[in-house]
Symmetry: C2
Subunit: 194 residues, 2 copies
């Protein structure tokens, strides 16, 4: 529930974001959105065409936030290895999983090009951003020239996304942390002297 100071459209979007993260698109009913936001059915349909339209606004905002958070560490100070390490080690609410990645397990999101677009664009942007940093590291002689930036970036993003899967299965962040340490130990040994 949100205070009355926040406008209705905003409350609807924020409630939908929370529900999508917790229960996914298929598991989020318009009724649950109304209950959590405290909005009335009329005002929901005044601001949004329906559940897909409201979900799109919610997914877009979540995607933008994820991108800004990632850029905060990837665009920060340090060598390419250090920036990748900062991305992998940044504090996360591991057991909640990724609010963007989890949507890929939602059949109704994956089947809808409009809903899938912000998910695809965000993960694609993330891979490209990291690929650029790996290439930078290669040029600076920090990483072996045999490494392919796009492939390493895909492995990095996949380790994070799959780390959430392992952590949620185990009911503990430990396997996420282990996977990150494993990947970092491999990256640290992939130096040009190798």
């Amino acid at each position: 529930m949100y205070s009355r100071g926040v406008n209705t459209s905003e409350r609807l979007i924020e409630s939908t974001r929370e529900l999508l993260w917790e229960r996914g698109y298929v598991g989020t009913s318009p009724k649950a959105i109304l209950e959590r936001s405290g909005a009335g059915q009329g005002s929901m349909y005044h601001h949004f065409k329906g559940k897909p339209d409201l979900a799109l606004a919610a997914i877009r905002r979540t995607a933008e936030e994820m991108r800004a958070t990632a850029e905060g560490v990837l665009g920060g100070p340090g060598t390419p290895y250090e920036r990748i390490e900062a991305y992998l080690r940044r504090e996360r609410d591991v057991l909640r999983g990724c609010p963007v990645g989890r949507l890929t397990m939602d059949p109704d999101v994956v089947a809808d090009d409009e809903l899938r677009a912000p998910v695809d664009e965000t993960l694609d942007w993330l891979r490209e951003r990291i690929a650029g940093i790996v290439e930078e590291g290669r040029e600076q002689g920090q990483f072996a020239s045999s490494l392919d930036g796009e492939e390493i970036a895909a492995a990095i993003v996949a380790t994070v996304q799959g780390g959430y899967v392992l952590a949620r299965a185990a009911g503990s962040p430990a396997p996420f942390d282990a996977g990150v340490r494993g990947l970092l130990s491999l990256l640290a040994s992939a130096t040009p002297s190798a």
Copy 2:
């Protein structure tokens, strides 16, 4: 729909397995199970106590199959690196995702210790199995002694599970394949000479 030769309990389990893979636990209604299996409501409640009981039988069978498939390559011929490579490169229906891993995004599965148990046990077994192979590779001098078997195993399983997320986001198996190639290039360079 299954032929009449298959018994009802079997049809219910197989239909539930398919639906859990496609739509998850939250998205699978008893009605959808009855429709797909062609079974009547009475026979469903004759064989199973309800949706959780039927889902548990379905999840257990899917978990057993995943374990047998993984053991088929991990316990096969070849060096430790080759067996890990065979596991990572084995043919998969990438865009369907992992029928076991996807259940971790289901809030009702994660919140239920009984339903979560086969998911946890299977992914845990997989990590332990691969960790043993990495240790074997270290003892044989194929992998650098600085590598930690359990951490590398977590990174390997996470890359596969996260690879599905990237592929489903992109609507293409390409990012899954890229992540696997990236991880293999890192593993191949993590030799004792490094």
